[in-house]
Symmetry: C2
Subunit: 311 residues, 2 copies
């Protein structure tokens, strides 16, 4: 019967997903929930519940910067626990199968390349637009083994200081966190907006979904917030177009829900800034796998290593 | 005897170089001079003078953006003539050997990878720091087939409008042209400086070499100009480090002559901005081939295609 499944694990800052996945990228069974306090124990339990003799290996996509050997997370601003725990060797020792580690956005890009929005392109730049901004780069049909920390590209030389150490990071202007933080300060300063009526008047509980809803209802502030962030995203997209001249730009993450305002504004801005000859051949499209891109790509790490071994 | 040489051609905005190069990257004979008015005729004559039955092919590195098929230059702001002439087919038809085209900075990066400062690295980002700023990216031992227009990455969202269409391009802050343009406006506004005594008092004839010399002589304005440009270069370098996490950053072009002020400032700025874990493993080093990187890489295009064909 052989080992025909992989377990794919996606550990973002807020959610954990663990899935049993076939060699064709089909998700057979999925466990999901908020990232638990006792992370190693929860991961072990989730693997245990999906484990069988048919598991070829386990892949992990984890938020943060990996070491060169791809067995440790060096720096994970939103998930510090993974910096201290040796997950790869812990899992390998317990389950006795090959274990692979990748940055979560890189893993998601690999998932899109395998069975998602990227499968018909030989090159694309992948953006995850959530609380923060992450990325992955595919070139010549392969995921590049690079940090791809696109959210920490400075687009504003003397702009806002970012916790990463840089100033003017794309993430500080175009992410969910950036949009909410600007919303709070605008509302604090007394701007009129429908947003005041949301969340029982406690605007600190606002979400970007609600801002999008208010924008569709014609709220000026909400529209401004999304268009402004979208314009900055467009600068980041144009930069990546001029550098990587990809066939596609694939956008994933919660903010793609605000496509008609936020992403449309980004495309408009990128069209003004990127080389015309590059822009006109790039497709800007949404992720196909959405929240499943990470687990799919994590499983792909396992099958990719198997196919490299036998080729 | 076989076809053991290639002809490598480097067409920048101001200079043309044509060389006969061995399969080991050794330059046997070299022709150089300012880019002539009648470019196609001059290129044909130069090839003719180096041509023999031992030529395996001809490689061209040309300033500008190439098409996907790599046989035409779509856009070359500093060398418009090449947009209108079909050099590849013209040369192919006349000399009946394989002809290859690449962006000049990409070709130079390939030269460094083959026999230059990049030959011991499997990944690096290459910057050409001249009148403008160009780039090339090597990953997993290969030159990436991407535009690598690093000079046209915006690092200043609402900064200076660039002729390329973007605003706040790295090139507008850190190139020779940027340094000179700032020098002119500072001198026009009456700033005191040793630079006034250069070029017989006509400061519009200043060069960046002279600015570097004045800076070494303690001139405040000259130091400021180089440090300011270097700081912006550092932002561009940090961005490329966070995106590509390369083993090395290789710097070429005339401005590397101002290494002790301009590049040192860039390294200092990049050290503050790039992820610490990435920065500490990157070497920032000068080009080894310097002005010969372009012809070397152009010749490499020929030998690379031959080795791919037989592998």
């Amino acid at each position: 019967m052989g080992r025909k499944y992989a377990i794919g694990i996606d550990l973002g800052g807020t959610n954990m997903r663990v899935a049993l996945i076939t060699g064709d990228g089909e998700i057979v069974k999925k466990i999901k929930g908020p990232t638990p306090e006792d992370l190693p124990a929860a991961i072990f339990a989730a693997i245990e519940s999906l484990y069988s003799e048919e598991i070829a290996g386990i892949g992990l996509g984890v938020a943060g910067l990996m070491n060169g050997e791809k067995d440790r997370v060096l720096n994970s601003p939103n998930l510090h626990i993974v910096e201290k725990v040796d997950l790869v060797n812990g899992i390998r020792n317990k389950f006795k199968v090959p274990v692979f580690l990748e940055n979560d956005a890189n893993a998601a890009a690999l998932g899109e390349l395998w069975t998602g929005a990227g499968k018909d392109f030989s090159s694309f730049v992948f953006f995850t637009l959530g609380t923060g901004i992450g990325g992955g780069i595919v070139c010549d049909g392969k995921l590049l083994d690079v940090a791809a920390e696109i959210g920490h590209m400075s687009i504003h030389a003397d702009g806002e200081k970012c916790p990463c150490g840089n100033s003017g990071c794309l993430e500080s202007y175009a992410s969910m966190r950036a949009i909410l933080s600007r919303a709070f300060s605008d509302l604090e300063s007394g701007r009129e907006s429908l947003l005041r009526d949301y969340c029982g008047g406690n605007f600190y509980k606002l979400t970007t979904e609600e801002i999008y809803r208010a924008a569709l209802d014609g709220d000026t502030l909400a529209r401004e917030l999304l268009k402004n962030a979208g314009r900055y995203l467009g600068i980041g997209i144009a930069n990546m177009m001029n550098i990587m001249s990809p066939e596609a730009v694939i956008l994933a993450g919660g903010l793609t829900g605000a496509w008609d305002i936020y992403v449309q504004e980004a495309i408009k801005e990128a069209s003004k800034r990127a080389y015309a000859e590059v822009f006109e051949r790039v497709k800007v499209i949404p992720s196909l796998l959405m929240d499943d891109a990470g687990i799919t790509g994590a499983a792909r790490l396992v099958f990719r290593a198997m196919s490299e071994q036998y080729s």
